[in-house]
Symmetry: C2
Subunit: 349 residues, 2 copies
């Protein structure tokens, strides 16, 4: 039986949900997946950090109070986030990185990933920053150190997108994709179709916990732009920087536009898209698009996300599912670990 030693970097909702899953399901995974997970370190800028080579109690971790420096109350714990020590010295095989996305330079998450990969540890992450901004460098670093760098959760949380496209659609000759990649903006547009004004709809999204206090990144398309960069570079072998992707959000859409679309049998959606042209160049954009009702993404409402891949051999294949959620995103980390395990198991056959 394989046991992977895991260090959790960032202990907000996602890694806490992962700890909860480990507490509830480790036994079941032994049979179903062929491995178990042991948490040997946790670090969080707000909560502090703890290490424990013999394994930390996942159920207790999941219940840790969300107070500043809470790990100081844990035996052997520390009010400070000893990030470097937890990543480098906890004895972890795999680092689960789930800190906040920094769209400017990807820090500090990118450094966390570098430390782990340089130290010969696999990295699984849900963070868009390191991949969108430093993906090529980190992938090369992982290859040089013969470890995995997996980030299924960086796009559409646990809904499988990157792995579906790279594995199940290999050979289909993919030419592009279009996606509804931000749940908040899609929820706002759905509310507007039900008669709420833009500001009211954003307020409702905030009240329901979908939108941040500052909703700019969601409604102006900045979040989607990072995801477009990740998908285009991964699936179309593009070499896009964030600034290569044109970006327009939904804040200029008003109820008149929504009603006009309805009369025309269409709907406004915030679409992140990229396509490969005949000359091999790639163009990518984020913008509101008017979709007719028979478009595969037109029926994707509320906080659901979806991406439609276009290929020479299949036409459009669409995957839709949750685009956020703590447990859903924790599943993305689990699915990355499963991929690491399957690859390792095959190497040993």
């Amino acid at each position: 039986m394989t046991e992977y030693k895991l260090a959790l970097v960032g202990f907000g909702g996602v890694n806490r949900a992962l700890a909860q899953l480990i507490a509830e399901r480790n036994d079941r995974w032994k049979t179903e997946l062929g491995f178990t997970l042991k948490i040997v370190g946790v670090t969080d800028l707000f909560l502090g950090s703890v290490m424990g080579r013999e394994g930390l109690d996942a159920a207790l971790l999941a219940k840790l109070p969300t107070t500043k420096g809470a790990f100081a109350q844990w035996p052997g714990g520390n009010a400070e986030a000893l990030n470097e020590a937890v990543i480098k010295e906890s004895g972890a095989d795999i680092i689960a990185e789930a800190t906040f996305t920094n769209p400017v330079d990807g820090e500090p998450a990118t450094s966390f990933c570098r430390w782990a990969l340089e130290g010969g540890k696999h990295v699984v992450t849900t963070n868009k920053g390191p991949i969108a901004l430093h993906g090529a460098e980190l992938k090369a670093l992982a290859r040089r150190n013969n470890v995995a760098f997996e980030y299924e959760g960086s796009v559409m949380s646990g809904t499988p997108v990157i792995r579906v496209a790279k594995q199940s659609l290999a050979g289909s000759a993919m030419t592009g994709f279009e996606g509804i990649l931000n749940g908040t903006s899609n929820f706002v547009l759905t509310c507007m179709e039900n008669g709420l004004g833009f500001a009211e709809a954003v307020g409702k999204a905030q009240a329901l916990g979908y939108a941040e206090a500052d909703p700019t990144a969601d409604v102006e398309g900045h979040d989607v732009r990072l995801k477009v960069v990740i998908l285009a570079n991964e699936l179309l072998d593009a070499k896009l920087k964030v600034s290569d992707v044109s970006c327009k959000g939904i804040s200029s859409i008003d109820l008149g536009d929504i009603e006009k679309a309805r009369q025309d049998g269409a709907r406004w959606k915030l679409i992140g898209a990229a396509s490969r042209h005949a000359n091999g160049s790639i163009s990518a954009s984020v913008e509101p698009r008017l979709l007719s009702h028979d478009h595969p993404l037109a029926g994707v409402s509320g906080a659901t996300n979806a991406v439609s891949f276009t290929s020479e051999l299949l036409g459009a294949v669409t995957v839709s599912g949750p685009g956020a959620g703590r447990t859903e995103t924790a599943f993305a980390l689990l699915s990355d670990i499963i991929a690491i395990h399957q690859s390792a198991a095959r190497d040993q056959e």
Copy 2:
């Protein structure tokens, strides 16, 4: 460079499309996929058969006249379908089986699969019969002979469904699925929403080549029932026989039902579904269901297919795409070969 030797069993639209893809794309696959394909045998009950260990010209094969016994005109060819010889003696590594689905006993395709697997050859197939009726036996036979038995194309043609669920959704604790798994019946329902009566809609589907001269298997749910058996046994570890799945088609739905649904903000869809109950038992059915407009399958119109997987960790994840088509189904065979190649490549690392 790996070269797989391929024998094509059944040379209707699907394997002909595969030959065409090989003719057009073998060079490209060398770089992109790490292998090439060489056709060493073809057999078809109507066209006859041919073998050629040095490789048959794929482009010429794709253009073979569709006249009875056409292979008699091919150098070394035969007007008779020497199925057993082509499967056992052509030197093939992989048998691509794409004959007709026999819903009663799965023959002759099941025998073709047995011959191949017993002879240590991988099998890729688009045929529902062998898997739905003899899946457990054939899978065990493949394991004993250390070869692969792959059948992604048996459900939703090239749209990845089985592999997505087994690989990308592993660990999600799947509890069930609902699918629109027959393009003809979905097309008929869509036509009825546009005002055509049932008989007229079936006629239109026939005129467009979607429906067979005898549309019974499509509109009465028999085709969907086979797919439900395949998916339930594969994804929910059920041990269903075809007769375990209740089956009701769409022929009893009239325009009044369609209109009433519209007034209620809902749509009729022919749904194939299975779910695991708390006591571990599995129930499965094919029946028309009234879906509200926010159901993930409600927006799937025309000949598109879709399946929505429900799991404990992700809720609903839906995959939609083509459910038929020659090239699309040939891609399913290619994707099975890619899976075989990836598995073999890892074994050799």
